[in-house]
Symmetry: C2
DNA sequence: TTGAAAGCGCTAACAG
DNA sequence: CTGTTAGCGCTTTCAA
């Protein structure tokens, strides 16, 4: 590895001069600067980030924690963030938490040991107070999709509750009163709240027998839960799923049970993932603000990194109902 | 931040003793070690990775470059790698290349400045020789899904050519002779070769009018290209798509054109992504060895990191044809 | 405009 | 068993 020392020795100048030259300081004679830069170029000198970091410079690294990488939604956030920070000269160190708070705090620790300059945590599993305790005070944090409010850090959230409400309202307008709810244990809380609120607002009584929530996830989870729902005595005429992937499974299950969508039963998803228009029955769904979350996270984070006392921000993004072909007026019996 | 010095001062011992104690060296009296560890615990001491790295220890960081993160296939590789290396105490710094060699070498540079201990590059866009030039000699590298052979680094590859061959052979067995090929510019080369080889082996003449390759990707890319193919004079009775996502688009296009799958036209994909069993017509596809690529990459990498002169390995993983419902015996006219 | 010197936090001989 | 010393590669006062 070529170091400043190497360059300094070959040129018979002091290492500090070389440092200044390379950092484009004014306090170096243009001629020597040119010489130094030329040699640096020739020798293919590359600064050592560890040394720079130790000596007090920024590490230009930001840490990201997501619950899981294999999930189009989180993957997209990571990709957006990468795309943004690379242009600011930052790089990314990535961890997945598996919705596990121990794993999350492991990464938080790791990040601080590496002196990252900022971090974004997506769907943190750690309570606000504890987070505050384990994250060093001087490092900027953005919380994305937090389940709970957090008074200490900037947050970027989707207005889940209203998204779900809109979906349910729409079903109600179509005449549905028996509306099912399919969710997984992990991501459901806020959305279930929206569901209940919407029912209440429309004077529809909430009934446990219309909701199915368990650990299973992805297409299979939606499939199994839909089957479960359809085997009960009280049958839904419409079903809301907490995400599109599960909705796709649910649609398949309905078909297997001989039901036509949307004629016999309506299904509505959440996210608006890319594949939807290419499905046999394109799903009606609640669209997450695509390409926004990652971008905004970076904007907020960079502001905090560059401006020590920038204000904490709490941003709420509005989702939007996209009506396609999986929902219809309730069937009259 | 609590440092070794802080602990040393409070205990009236030398910093080097503290260092030894914390690193569980034998050469420190059990009692003092206990004292030191207790205080370290109490003060919540955390070693500084930058300092450790600079002082000569491993950084316990590995770099990963993938073409893009939003792609179930690459996302899965990243996730697997993360899952493996976290247990070895390593962390991940991640970059996406967008299939762009400049961006790729940007990250390679970045990685070396950060003194990573190993790197895996998925689908490198840089020729073997140039790679050799820009990657420092002392850092272990694993190349995943390289288009070309590389004499310098360990490689993990899917046997693409044989995978495609199997798919085409299968179609031929079903009586198809007019077999289309749909691919994108970026990822197609090896698979097109397999296609041609399979045709040749079955004495079917290759015809440009049956292949459609352009930049478009994802569902939309497959959709558009299928439409394009179906509007030509020479029509295929079966179509091979370089990945499942495109195949899903292709299926939709066929349907729009009034064709039934598989009765009127067979479609075959590549990858076996999770959603397939839940599609209206579950796709026949070539399954990539799930959960293998990332794992094996880490195994190879770790071996190289721990054992300076471990042998270079070139591993080829076998894909497997999975027959489902999108393929059928050719229709007799 | 440049050099000398201290220091970031830690490790690793080398003495003792 | 423990302290002293040097050094990793770089930045940053402070003098000159």
């Amino acid at each position: 590895m070529v170091t400043l020392k190497d360059i300094a020795e070959r040129l018979g100048v002091d290492i500090s001069t070389v440092s200044r030259a390379i950092n484009d300081s004014e306090r170096v004679k243009p001629q020597t600067k040119a010489l130094i830069k030329a040699l640096a170029e020739e020798l293919d000198y590359k600064p050592d980030d560890l040394a720079q970091g130790l000596a007090g410079k920024r590490t230009n690294t930001i840490g990201i924690i997501v619950p899981e990488i294999i999930n189009a939604y989180y993957a997209e956030i990571i990709a957006e963030i990468e795309e943004r920070v690379i242009h600011e000269g930052y790089s990314i160190i990535l961890g997945q938490s598996n919705f596990d708070s121990r794993r999350e705090s492991y990464y938080i620790n790791l990040f601080s040991r590496k002196r990252i300059n900022g971090m974004v945590i997506v769907t943190s599993a750690i309570p606000a107070e504890s987070l505050k305790k384990i994250i060093p005070d001087n490092i900027p944090v953005v919380l994305v999709e937090t389940a709970q409010d957090n008074p200490y850090y900037s947050t970027i959230n989707i207005d889940n509750e209203n998204g779900v409400k809109e979906a349910i309202e729409y079903l109600v307008k179509l005449g549905h009163r028996k509306i099912g709810f399919i969710g997984d244990t992990i991501t459901t809380a806020v959305r279930l709240a929206g569901y209940k609120a919407a029912l209440a607002q429309n004077s529809i009584e909430y009934s446990d027998s219309l909701v199915c929530i368990d650990n299973a996830r992805f297409e299979k989870g939606g499939y199994d839960k839909m089957l479960n729902l359809l085997n009960r005595k009280e049958k839904p005429t419409a079903v809301f799923c907490v995400n599109d992937t599960m909705a796709i499974g649910a649609v398949k299950a309905a078909k297997v049970k001989g039901l036509k969508i949307p004629d016999d039963i309506s299904v509505i998803g959440f996210d608006d993932i890319n594949i939807i228009p290419y499905l046999e029955v394109p799903l009606t769904t609640v669209r997450q603000p695509k390409g926004e979350v990652g971008n905004i996270s970076v904007s907020v984070l960079m502001k905090m990194i560059k401006n020590k006392n920038s204000f904490m921000q709490n941003i709420v993004l509005k989702p939007e109902l996209v009506v396609r072909e999986s929902t219809a007026v309730v069937k009259q019996n």
